[in-house]
């Protein structure tokens, strides 16, 4: 672990409090996309930001917001660097982030369900394994809590969400899908 100075910890908190532009209930720290803040002296910092999806259009808005809040905090020179590795995963969303998503009407991603890309077998196994996994750890309706929900579309209003419907209360809802 790289040592973090008190200043870096302070600036990480400031930058981390920026709300996500698409899911404003979450902060960047809760979403897990803010990797580090490196201070090169009190007036110059570099922020490492990782995208949820490679093509996520919100990254640029996030970078501008981070620059703005750090400028307002008195840092003159802010560089936001986009980093890809290690790849972001929905497991990086904090517990508080998950709670807020549910409260906002979005079923949070299930923890520890991220498929390991390396060495994963192709063929029917993926789908079948997913179905078997559904029974043990169902996506619950964020409105009524029912475990009886069905998938309507793998892709919803944004790339990170799937569209589902609750079979108990009949409400459609977004599910932040595991990545």
């Amino acid at each position: 672990m790289v040592t973090t100075t008190a200043l870096e910890a302070e600036l990480l908190e400031v930058a981390g409090a920026v709300p996500d532009p698409e899911l404003p209930v979450l902060t960047l720290l809760e979403l897990g996309v803010l990797r580090a803040v490196h201070a090169h002296g009190p007036d110059s910092v570099e922020v490492e930001l990782t995208p949820t999806y490679t093509g996520c259009p919100a990254v640029e808005a996030m970078a501008l917001d981070i620059e703005r809040v750090l400028h307002e905090h008195g840092v003159r020179d802010v560089t936001v660097r986009k980093v890809l590795a290690p790849a972001w995963s929905t497991d990086d969303i904090t517990d508080e982030g998950r709670r807020k998503l549910r409260e906002f009407g979005i079923a949070p991603p299930r923890a520890g369900r991220v498929a390991e890309p390396v060495g994963l077998r192709l063929g029917p196994t993926r789908t079948l394994a997913q179905e078997a996994g559904e029974a043990a750890d169902p996506v619950r309706c964020p409105h009524c809590g029912s475990a009886e929900t069905e998938l309507l579309s793998r892709f919803s209003s944004t790339a990170c969400k799937a569209l589902r419907r609750c079979l108990s209360c009949r409400e459609p809802f977004d599910h932040f899908k595991e990545l």
Binding site: A85, V118, F155
Partner: protein, 244 residues
């Protein structure tokens, strides 16, 4: 935001090839906006296109200025596979193209992610997205192939029509250090399995040789690609430097 441009010529050609695949397929999928059979598919195809565009931006930025590369190169300078430039056709054609390409891309990125090359970080990121693209294509192949008589016929026709473009995916690309024969057999096994479960016949036509297609990596493209590029590049060429 800062990016790092590479100067290694072989890495440049590999980044261009993979970046052009992603860019061109992204544009093709974007053409479905306003035309998809149902609203959910409209959204799904646009989301897949967006993932591919993100990959293209990272890959092309390894080579140079992403906008210049996307909007100011001539047709012969693009090195994408001929498969990805094929017109959308009916929905079955689009799904067959997705099945063939996403299976290839999934396997390729899995291998690149496991290495320590320049493409590893992007591949590790993108393979998780591509897993969803592949899943989407598989589900639709099963639904159309094992659906009505009409959907079965159209899916079968689409799979056969695009078959001759699939051999090109396994031709060597300078700077891309992967085990192509292993990739090809894994691809064939996976696609064959999906087609069988979809009650579709595995196409029998040649995938290599004189009757197969594929010189996209050498900059030779099919007729419709020029028209696609004209549309894709028109705005940027008419209004250089335009931004939102």
């Amino acid at each position: 935001m800062s990016t790092d441009v590479t100067t290694d010529a072989t890495v440049t050609s590999a980044a261009l090839a993979l970046g052009d695949d992603a860019l061109v397929l992204s544009h093709r999928l974007g053409e479905w906006a306003g035309h998809a059979p149902v609203l959910e598919e409209e959204v799904a195809l646009a989301n897949i296109a967006l993932d591919l565009l993100g990959q293209a931006r990272v890959l092309l930025s390894l080579v140079g200025d992403e906008d210049e590369l996307a909007y100011l190169r001539e047709e012969r300078a693009f090195t994408n596979l001929q498969l990805v430039e094929q017109p959308n056709g009916d929905f079955a054609h689009t799904i067959a193209r997705q099945l063939y390409f996403s299976t290839y891309q999934y396997l390729l990125y899995t291998e690149l992610a496991a290495g320590d090359g320049l493409f590893a970080p992007l591949a590790a990121k993108a393979v998780k997205e591509v897993a969803y693209h592949r899943d989407h294509a598989e589900q639709w192949t099963l639904r159309l192939g094992d659906g009505t008589d009409v959907s079965h016929q159209r899916m079968q026709r689409a799979c056969a029509a695009l078959w001759r473009f699939t051999g090109e995916m396994f031709q060597p690309v300078a700077g891309l250090d992967v085990d192509l024969p292993a990739l090809e057999s894994a691809w064939a096994a996976s696609v064959t399995d999906v087609l069988r479960r979809a009650t579709l016949a595995v196409p029998e036509g040649p995938r290599s040789g004189a009757w197969a297609a594929g010189a996209g990596r050498q900059g030779l493209h099919t007729e419709s690609f020029g028209r696609m590029l004209a549309e894709m590049q028109h705005l940027h060429r008419s209004h250089p430097g335009a931004s939102w």
